[in-house]
């Protein structure tokens, strides 16, 4: 029987856990001259045969125990894998919920910002129309020009704030790292 350990390998080839293999007892060996000598003694082969029978029976008992051990070890390994999986999935769920909340919050902020930006833009356009309107006093024109300039100068600021929010959600993104194995290497 194979003396090496039976390794459980992942797809990536890393050892995760093992079922220890079962070692068989070596078969009794003897020298030729002893066999010749024993051949003349009628009780010799009988005793030897009886001893072998006993050895086989003892070995069978040991193998039965090993069989139970292997089955139980396999069960333990499966349970470990399942529990680790459940744990990892729970972690993933928690991270997903946290990210979802964060995205919703940032999205709400950006929606408010969008509404504000569009309102300011409309106001700026209306003020600009008044700047270009014919027949209004110069003071009023200057006033509308200042107002329109002030409003349009807000537009890049809105953009900056929105970019900061976007950067925040980009930074919150989990790194694109694909796990190589579920269980840590032994």
């Amino acid at each position: 029987m194979d003396n090496s350990k039976s390794k459980v390998l992942t797809k990536s080839g890393k050892r995760m856990t093992t079922i220890e293999s079962v070692k068989a007892a070596p078969l009794p060996q003897e020298k030729t001259w002893i066999s010749v000598f024993k051949a003349f003694n009628p009780f010799g082969p009988m005793a030897e045969s009886y001893a072998k029978t006993l050895a086989y029976k003892i070995e069978c008992k040991r193998l039965e125990v090993e069989l139970t051990r292997v089955q139980e070890q396999a069960g333990v390994i499966k349970t470990t894998i399942d529990k680790t999986y459940a744990l990892k999935m729970e972690e993933l769920n928690q991270r997903r919920l946290a990210l979802e909340k964060f995205y919703d919050t940032v999205q709400q902020q950006l929606e408010h910002l969008h509404i504000e930006r569009m309102t300011v833009l409309k106001m700026a356009e209306r003020a600009a129309d008044r700047v270009l309107e014919q027949g209004i006093p110069m003071e009023e024109r200057q006033l509308f020009k200042d107002m329109a300039s002030e409003l349009t100068s807000q537009i890049p600021l809105f953009g900056e704030t929105a970019n900061k929010s976007l950067k925040q959600i980009v930074q919150a993104l989990p790194p694109v790292a694909i796990p190589t194995a579920l269980l840590p290497e032994e």
Binding site: M1, S6, V8, L9, T10, K11, I19, S21, V22, P45, M46, S49, K52, T53, Y56, K57, E59, C60, L63, E64, E66, L67, V70, Q71, A74, I77, K78, I81, Y85, M89, L92, R95, R96, Y103, V106, Q107, R117, L121, A128, D129, V131, L132, M138, R141, K145, A148, S149, T152, I155, P156, G159, A162, L166, I169, V170, L173, P174, V176, I178, L182
Partner: protein, 197 residues
């Protein structure tokens, strides 16, 4: 010769006992070999089962990790696209204002030519042109900034669209039947959305 009979009988008895003991040994050996084979088979079966189970579970975990990444990437790309749309709207509004002011300036210049030198109204027209020039200068400054922001956002959108697309194909190609089914469902949703649009 009669004395040979007990010896022969004893010999036969020994042979019979020896035979019985040998049979028992053979049976024990056979049992041991059968059990040894069964143990070997069991170890191999369990090993294969565990390998399959682990591979299946790793694939499932990888699938969930990648789907989450895809979703996050999609949300960011979507948000970046909304901001890009806003930047384009802002840029267009500033361009409209610039266009209108350019037309008005042109009108005023024509009026200035029409009025000729020495006319009292020229002062007012020139003042209006100055106001418009100042306004246009302010608008140009804002236009440059918004244009830069728009370009940055367009780069960001492209980056996240690419990333989302790569993740989509990774899920399809690396996550077995789950990934393939997920990909099909996603493509179907995209097809339906395109039909609606």
């Amino acid at each position: 010769m009669w004395w040979l009979l007990p010896i022969a009988g004893a010999g036969l008895a020994v042979a019979a006992i020896l035979n019985a003991v040998s049979d028992s040994e053979r049976e024990a050996r056979q049992n041991w070999e059968d059990l040894r084979d069964e143990v070997e088979r069991t170890v191999e079966e369990h090993r294969l089962n565990i390998e399959e189970h682990l591979a299946e579970i790793e694939e499932s975990y990888e699938f969930h990790v990648l789907v989450d990444l895809h979703y996050s990437s999609f949300r960011v790309a979507d948000q970046a696209y909304s901001l890009l749309r806003d930047a384009k709207t802002s840029l267009n509004a500033i361009k409209r204002m610039l266009d209108k002011s350019r037309k008005r300036k042109k009108e005023l210049k024509s009026e200035l030519d029409r009025l000729g030198k020495g006319n009292g109204e020229r002062k007012e027209v020139l003042a209006e042109i100055r106001v418009i020039n100042d306004f246009r200068q302010d608008l140009f400054n804002d236009l440059d900034e918004v244009r830069d922001q728009k370009q940055d956002l367009a780069d960001e959108v492209q980056l996240f669209n690419e990333r989302t697309r790569e993740l989509k194909y990774a899920i399809r190609d690396r996550c077995g039947w789950r990934g393939e089914e997920w990909y099909e469902r996603l493509e179907e949703r995209i097809r339906r959305k395109r039909q609606w649009d």
